[in-house]
Amino acid sequence: MMNSEARVADPKDWIKGATGDWEIVIGMEVHAQVLSKSKLFSGASAEFGGEPNDHVSFVDAAMPGMLPVINEYCVAQAVRTGVGLKAKINRRSVFDRKNYFYPDLPQGYQISQYKQPIVGEGTVTIDLEGGRQVDVGIERLHLEQDAGKSLHDQHPDMSFVDLNRSGVALMEIVSKPDMRSADEAKAYVSKLRQIMRYLGTCDGNMEQGSLRADINVSVRRPGAGFGTRCEIKNVNSIRFMGQAIEYEARRQIDVLEEGGTIDQETRLFDARKGETRSMRSKEEAHDYRYFPDPDLLPLDLEESWIAEIERDIPELPDAKKARLMQAYGLSAYDAGVLVAERASAEFFESVARGRDGKLAANWLINELFGRLNKEGKAIEESPVSAGQLGEIIDLIQAGTISGKMGKDVFEIVWAEGGSPAAVVEARGMKQMTDTGAIEAAVDAIIAANPDKVAQVKAKPTMLGWFVGQVMKSTGGKANPQSVNDILKIKLGI
């Protein structure tokens, strides 16, 4: 792992200022909601939505005398994520209290992990345009509770509090300051999201707030020491992250070029105006008075328990991509598209197994994904199953239908379902492979168009016109290759 400070941005990512070039340095704290039925320290449901305060236990509401009990499944999810980030799993970690007053924080403290997190250093490899890859260091991952939500629009002079989210498990994933452009930051969050979705540890649903980030941004002359950073709080879309970083970097460069200095502070991103603005300065920062939570014993993990989790880790995107390229002869681009979601890759493999991988990839990327996108459906909701798509490809490969006909079959199966072979049979879509019948059709076209026959001798590219006519007269069922071959012989070209 290289030293974070030493990494210099690709010169194309440098920002031109009035006084010379600058580069951006970015570190991120991503808050990922643990995919779990119940909360981190209570049995209450962690489900999204519901009426306000539907999913609140006595523990979540911090009733007197209530005690937290760690949810083992959430711990396993954090370990799983740690393994996915190629990170060190700490056999012993400690829960601390982060003390501050806020109406949506019922205990008056958040249970978090401060000095001894459950996961230590790791690495995420991000993929950039042009196939470039960059390793982003992970500093740590720790478990903590989410807070509730204040509702300010329910009453003329009161605020209401909804504790449904109070106590939901979050993983805070802290990167090293290894990113050097908004694109790298976006690629990093996308990659994290992809890995966690593969692992089933976070659904990555950004609209529901399952994944959000605090972004630390500073600027410096390329290769110089780190500058003073500002933290942009709680950005919840990848697009906004890019905008926030670019705006903030520009702002800091302007300040520095005008002879000013950057104040370390917390800033908010206003998505409507596309700008960041100051929230609180370092001096106003809270003193959280962290100390080990005496209600919870240190979390000691058995080596065998960790090993069991490691054993059950699914193949992750990078490995899967490499394997698909190797096993199916796919391009890096195609493989990358297919592994974006674990479900797509699995769909691909059930189609491609025992078939032409490239053909299968083309069908998925060009036909299936396009169709799913158009209708806003996820791969899991595809009306055409992997089995059905495989069958269509088999029919094409066997010459039973043409590729073009295959697309029609796909549309019919999409809309009506059923076995592709049966559809082809029932609708008489079978390709004409009987050369005698094709010859007859060719003969008829040649006889009917003596002028064109004369022209084609001079301009062989007119062959296409003859092919089209024959296809038309056979209702598209003639094998295009046979039509071509027979025409060439008959026309003597």
Binding site: P64, G65, V69, F101, R289, P294
Partner: protein
């Protein structure tokens, strides 16, 4: 009827089984006694309706020859324990009107064994105090008075209501909690027996938290046997409290009366503090003598970090308390004093809701956890705690139990101690036990020249309650029992 209230739990248990009287009769006797003794202010809330209902249910079970270990026995419950649908306010104004929709594990265990609830007992606010003078509901008066004096005395604290109620026979036994001495010191001031079990022996679930790493529930009762009976019922492993320990609860009562011959009893030289009253020192010597006479071996030991225990305790306990009490913010339950905005609402509520001692400790706790002070105070106090534990670990190589005085003085008068630090010194013999997570029992051993009870403390190995009961019983046999003359 008044005679019924003079029975110990063990005696009443036998008579109830033999149907000599009913639980309802016993309960009525206590309710009448409580009514007569309101001047002691031991109860914050009396629950006669519930008591009678529970007693009747017990009688029905007893009639069928059924029933638990405490079937039909009327108990008082410290206000720190959550009791479903009943006033639970830790004797604080900030929990104004709070009635929890849940029952603490310890009280649920007692009800499962058939005990009857008489009401909620007064205490120092949030269990912070050594004299029961910090309760929002007023001082508790000790049933004991100095000879030839009508002046009121404090019952000790924080479980002052529990101790006073047991001493004045206003319940057969009481629940209590101990963070730095809150069971053992009031028991000592009232001539009753109180045991703080090993940390993790009783579930903390449903007990309003003061200092989570130190808080432990235990009983105060009239004698060692009653304490043994009660602790057996209170203790359990509770999955809802991850600091509770999964160790079987032994039959403590079965150990009583077993000879202590060959038992090694440690006398820690560091407990001989400056200005210790001569009668306390004499009592300590006498206690050792009794045990020696019964065949125990007396061993002088050293617990070198003892002198740091009290200062370290007054860092750790307030630090945890400052965080534990943050939830009382006026947002969800209890008192709310309005303000112009959320911050002023917090300030107004907490200023009105917390008494002076609680505010003092929240401030101390906030200070010692603050950036720049954390290492100097909190971290260092935790190190001291480790050293105190190590002192005891080493002592256990040489002795089976440690004998010390329970308190540095007998009960004092309300208002007599106004300097908080002077007040904190009341816990000088008891806090080390909490810091080390060990069990400790306070057993009455004699009277001072003014006729006030004094107690000795026995400290045991982790989960060594059995030994404490066994040796405590031996002291009790030698010392006899002490009862406050009725004046109320």
């Amino acid at each position: 009827m008044s005679k019924l209230t003079s029975l110990t739990i063990a005696e009443a248990r036998t008579s109830l089984k033999e149907r000599k009287f009913s639980s309802l009769e016993l309960t009525e006797a206590y309710l009448a006694a409580m009514e007569q003794a309101r001047i002691l202010n031991a109860y914050i809330v009396e629950t006669p309706g519930r008591a009678r209902e529970m007693a009747k249910a017990s009688d029905a079970r007893l009639a069928k020859g059924e029933g638990g270990a405490l079937e039909g026995i009327p108990l008082g419950i410290k206000d720190l324990f959550a009791t479903k649908g009943v006033h639970t306010q830790a004797a604080s104004h900030i929990l104004d009107g709070f009635e929890p929709p849940y029952e603490s594990t310890v009280t649920a265990n007692l009800w499962r064994e058939g005990a009857v609830m008489l009401g909620k007992l007064n205490m120092d606010e949030f269990a912070m105090g050594s004299s029961n003078e910090t309760s929002y509901y007023g001082n508790v008066i000790n049933p004991w008075r100095r000879r030839n004096s009508n002046a009121a005395l404090v019952p000790g604290g924080s479980s002052g209501g529990s101790a006073a109620a047991v001493a004045a026979h206003l319940c057969a036994g009481a629940t209590a909690t101990d963070t730095g001495g809150s069971i053992r010191q009031p028991a000592a001031f009232t001539g009753t027996v109180g045991i703080k079990p090993t940390y993790g022996r009783c579930s903390r679930w449903g007990i309003v938290a003061f200092a989570s790493s130190l808080d432990q529930a235990g009983p105060i009762a009239r004698d060692v046997r009653d304490c043994a009976i009660m602790l057996k019922a209170m203790a359990s492993h509770d999955p809802k409290d991850t600091t509770s320990v999964d160790v079987p609860v032994p039959d403590y009562e079965a150990m009583l009366g077993r000879p202590i011959k060959g038992m090694r009893v440690g006398i820690p030289r560091e407990y001989r503090v400056d200005n210790m009253p001569a009668d306390i020192d004499a009592l300590w010597v006498k206690g050792a003598q009794w045990l020696k006479e019964q065949g125990a071996e007396i061993v002088e030991i050293s617990l070198p970090h003892t002198k740091y225990a009290l200062p370290a305790y007054y860092i750790v306990a307030p630090a945890e308390a400052s965080s534990n009490l943050a939830r009382y913010d006026g947002v969800r339950y209890g008192l709310r004093v309005k303000g112009d905005d959320i911050v002023s609402m917090y300030e107004n509520t907490r200023a009105a809701g917390f008494g002076r001692e609680v505010q003092r400790r929240v401030l101390i706790g906030t200070y010692v956890l603050s950036a720049g002070y954390y290492d100097a105070y909190y971290v260092r106090a935790q190190k001291v705690r480790t050293l105190i534990k190590r002192d005891f670990d080493e002592a256990w190589n040489r002795v089976d139990v440690v004998l010390t005085p329970a308190t540095p003085s007998a009960a004092f008068a309300p208002g007599e101690i106004t300097d908080p630090v002077q007040m904190y010194l009341n816990d000088v013999f008891t806090v080390t036990v909490n810091m080390a997570g060990l069990p400790g029992i306070s057993v009455p051993a004699g009277l001072d020249p003014a006729g006030l009870p004094l107690s000795l403390q026995l400290i045991g190995k982790p989960f060594g309650e059995v030994t404490l009961f066994q040796v405590g019983h031996a002291i009790e046999e030698a010392a006899g029992r002490f009862e406050a003359p009725v004046w109320w």
